[in-house]
Subunit: 214 residues, 2 copies
Amino acid sequence: MSDVGLKSDETVVEGEASRDVTDLILNDILAGLLLPGTWLKQIDLEKRYGCTRPEVRRALDRLAQKRLVEHVPNRGYHVYEPDGRRAAEVSDIRIILETAIAGEIIANASPDSIQKLRALAKRFDQTILLGTMLELYEANLAFHRELLTLGGNKELVELITEIRQRTSSAPVSQWRTRARIEQSGREHHLMINAIEAGDVEELKRLTIRHIRQS
Amino acid sequence: MSDVGLKSDETVVEGEASRDVTDLILNDILAGLLLPGTWLKQIDLEKRYGCTRPEVRRALDRLAQKRLVEHVPNRGYHVYEPDGRRAAEVSDIRIILETAIAGEIIANASPDSIQKLRALAKRFDQTILLGTMLELYEANLAFHRELLTLGGNKELVELITEIRQRTSSAPVSQWRTRARIEQSGREHHLMINAIEAGDVEELKRLTIRHIRQS
DNA sequence: GTTACCAAAATTGGCGCCAATTTAGGATAC
DNA sequence: GTATCCTAAATTGGCGCCAATTTTGGTAAC
């Protein structure tokens, strides 16, 4: 009967009404507001986001396609439980792809783009102090997207952005401690240094360590 | 006014009614029945597949998410035009991933799995003679999925299966001539030989050639 | 006291209708 | 004869209702 973390009489989020409900729910999952396992009752989402039933259902269907929520027919939608094996596999895929384009990244890195990367890395550092978990996640994503874009393969940028989302509860489980978050911030700068120095092998080493977080 | 290749009074496809409409439309796109650029009118799909309006709309929304059809608000859905750059980028991604796991494939290849691969390769060869374009596409996919599965990363298998679909009209544009199809069939056997011989570098070379088709 | 069964409440999901937008065709003015 | 505006047909897309299924709570039988 009782759902976890969702109350029917909760304050309606009246943010930009034009934005799609799918993104709103996605953000709440990524922000850790909707914890893994949470039963996403349609009537509650309807009230929470101030939208209609069909909108909710379309959003849930899309999230199920993206494998962010699990759908059991006639029994509703639940936020996916974190899966250790899947997360590890996604990490392996990221390592393969991101080390493979390390050479292209360095070859295409202009002084202009390096400056852009530094700005994004700094924004990440500042968000550690001032921002929310979701903002941190987005600042991190922005840095990595800019980095991948230098590889010159747009499809690859979108692909990695997509599979990153798939390991839901990412921001929650990814950075356990503040020390680990700050380490991530430092690694961003080290990666930029490697790019500036034109050291492909060093960039690959740093990339592996950054993704594995070990 | 007039849509391309779809007629309202066309015969209703009364295949397994239980299967999802999404797959039916997907198959028709992959089979080349719905050519790139085709305007997918909801009322026509409704009649063609003998289903309701909401079912059609859900299917179109899913295909739009998968980027197989293009959606312009208030102006309907169209089958994506083939994009040379995107297709090339997807090929590059496949090459990176499939060469990266060549070592694991060989390490995990048991006599049993090699036999399975041979059977699938033969099924592809036979489908060249007897089957439709869609069956050929599926036989090819089955072989490559089995190959990738040996890599041990299930997420990677699903990922590649997914991005393969994204370059729509794949079967149509992929194998232009019968000679090229037969060449693909031969390459499958060469790849199995390389696996059996434990020659990682040869498998990588063959993989690149097979994906690039040059 | 425990178990099985039944009824009622709640939730999911399918379906059709109607409004909003776009497109095509025709009439009129220049 | 051509361009522009207006009207009508067609298509998309939003919304609410109702049926089907599941779950819960209570009751009765053992």
